[in-house]
Assembly symmetry: C2
Homo-oligomer: 357 residues x 2
């Protein structure tokens, strides 16, 4: 069985970390005969520089033809003054929406070896293992109408539309209920149903779905309270499901609870399980090109890819075990370094994972 | 000079905590001859029970005629199944919007006496003193159109509108720049300008305003990053300004960093400095009527009222000093209790403040 994998290194530290992940992927492809064909393309700022647009047709065509995609990160100050329509982020948003990658899975896991890295007290976060399920192709990110207009009195006015229909809510709801079923059986749906009508509908649909998943205990929480509870007692959560904008905010807060966002992978899936995989962190332009970025989130994204899109659980397990091994061996990139451990470069960390494999 | 103060106890623990704050206010009114006339009215669930609506005309009329308002909290499970249009929250939102209380000041301060209460490590939060300035009468909370409609295919669709015009942005911007001028001189404006057009306008206006406040250093941050930075390194912030929805989320997260949300007051001001003052915490229906709620946030809200709306700085200072004194004396309500301190009831805590005064 031949499968096509597309690598999109992107901007900033993207190329450095994707290249380490590629080493890992190629090793497993050869040793386990996975039958993967690996290709590359440009997206984001690097695509703007080369083609004038953040998502060139050739990239989108390759993405559509692939079975899974690995993305580094996009964006950087170089492109910050561009009009929003042609900024690097539009490349990412364009991929999500064109490929209908509506189901975004963002785990926030505290690695026992890195417990000290958290800014929270150990007893509050030890053993933390949350999964945030974020809707990724709808909501206010894509709602119409949107723009800036001039009012009769000459004032400018900016506007966006927060919109969800029941089909969109149901399909992300199912992803979340199924994830909760496989995990701890608890699902918390986050909304602002005391103020926003769109989330009143969200809550109703989640309640309807709950009847189909009797093994899952559904609760509801307002988004302001959820932001508080993540700081107060994050271990109360198992799976959290929410819309695009709230998910953007809460998943970043949840990731930061672990103190090691350089360790966290993510998956964005379509209806059939095809997916784009990327680290939770950004393109970190300030440290790009220095060879110090942490490649582990990207390497763990490869593990997610193998598990969710390629049904290669064994290969995925091997990667996760290897990452745990290199942490046990004391190897740390600068972002997770602490006294008594061995500080290594991006490439060294990639090599350490290869050795562990 | 006679001034009218309206007390709105509201629901849940609201009546208990407002009654302690009233004791403090009356004491200072008498001893310092402040010339305050104190009246009461119903809002939220208690108004629904009595009048069928969360914001009766008599309450709104009294609110309009007053120089400052002290609110306890609104809402509770008893009214959760009501239609959104007549829920307790609508009373609060109606007051904010009818009185044009657009400028919401939410301090997040860590009291040295309560440093242990935070879930964050002491070095991350010690000395924390952030002011979140939240726009309170616009944005997606009030944007039109809004609702739930049925699409041609029979699907329901929910929608809300996130909208700001430049006048609204400018006036909240000025509140924030002026606050930053009086404090540490640093203002961080939070938006999602890489995705939402309405916040592109927001960012532009903040940049324009910055020219008028050369003493203030303005920075911009995306809301997802802000949620992360609040967890990672909250002391980097001095004043934060943002819209209604992002402000709701971030101010709750920031408050929780202190671990003692029962200590945090807030102010909501109109163009002329008239204001409504309330604790940052909610109506806590689970502990209502037990006499264990913490009245200090409400008592500190009285201090804010005296300072911002009544120009009685001396009286405000006295209250803040008295609160600090009772903490030094070791008095704690259940929410901030720790070993070695003295656990007291709501009324005892109010009495302790009175004695300290
Ligand atoms: C880069 C940006 C458009 C993106 C988002 O807001 O979705 C990022 O923050 C993310 O969470 O993947
Ligand atoms: C009760 C609710 C409508 C309110 C809000 O969302 O503004 C509350 O959360 C607050 O922050 O004051």
């Amino acid at each position: 069985m031949n499968r096509n994998i597309l690598l999109l290194p992107g901007d900033g530290i993207g190329p450095e970390i994707v290249s380490e992940a590629e080493k890992v992927l190629r090793l497993l492809n050869d040793s386990l005969s996975l039958g993967l064909t690996i290709d590359h393309a440009l997206v984001g700022g690097s695509a703007i520089d080369e083609h004038g647009v953040p998502l060139p047709d050739v990239t989108l065509d390759k993405a559509k033809a692939s079975d899974a995609i690995l993305l580094g990160a996009v964006g950087g100050p170089k492109w910050d003054d561009l009009d929003m329509a042609i900024r690097p982020e539009k490349g990412l948003l364009g991929l999500r929406s064109n490929l209908e990658l509506f189901g975004n899975l963002r785990p926030a896991i505290l690695y026992p070896q890195l417990a000290d890295a958290s800014t929270l007290k150990p007893e509050v976060v030890s053993g933390l293992d949350i999964l945030i399920v974020r809707e990724l192709t709808g909501g206010i990110y894509f709602g119409q109408p949107r723009g800036v207009r001039v009012l009769e009195n000459g004032d400018r006015e900016g506007y966006n539309t927060y919109v969800y229909n029941e089909t969109e809510i149901k399909r992300i709801g199912r992803v979340a209920f199924e994830a909760a079923q496989k995990r701890g059986g608890k699902l918390c749906s986050v909304d602002k149903a005391n103020v926003l009508e769109v989330t009143v509908l969200w809550r109703e649909i989640m309640d309807e779905l709950a009847k189909e998943y009797p093994g899952v205990e559904l609760s509801h929480m307002y988004v302001d309270n959820a932001a508080m509870q993540l700081v107060r007692a994050p271990k109360q959560f198992d799976v959290v499901v929410t819309g695009n904008m709230f998910g953007d905010i809460l998943s970043d807060a949840a990731a930061m609870l672990t103190g090691s966002i350089g360790m966290l992978p993510s998956a964005s899936l379509d209806e059939r399980g095809k997916g784009m995989y990327e680290p939770c962190h950004g393109s970190a332009p300030d440290i790009a090109g220095q060879g110090i970025a942490n490649p582990l989130a990207t390497i763990l994204s490869v593990a997610m890819m193998l598990r969710y899109s390629l049904a290669e659980n064994k290969a995925a397990d091997l990667i996760e075990q290897a990452v745990s091994d290199v942490l046990d061996q004391g190897f740390r990139t600068a972002d997770i370094y602490s006294e008594g451990t061995t500080k290594v470069s991006t490439v060294d960390m990639g090599d350490a994972v290869i050795s562990a494999l």
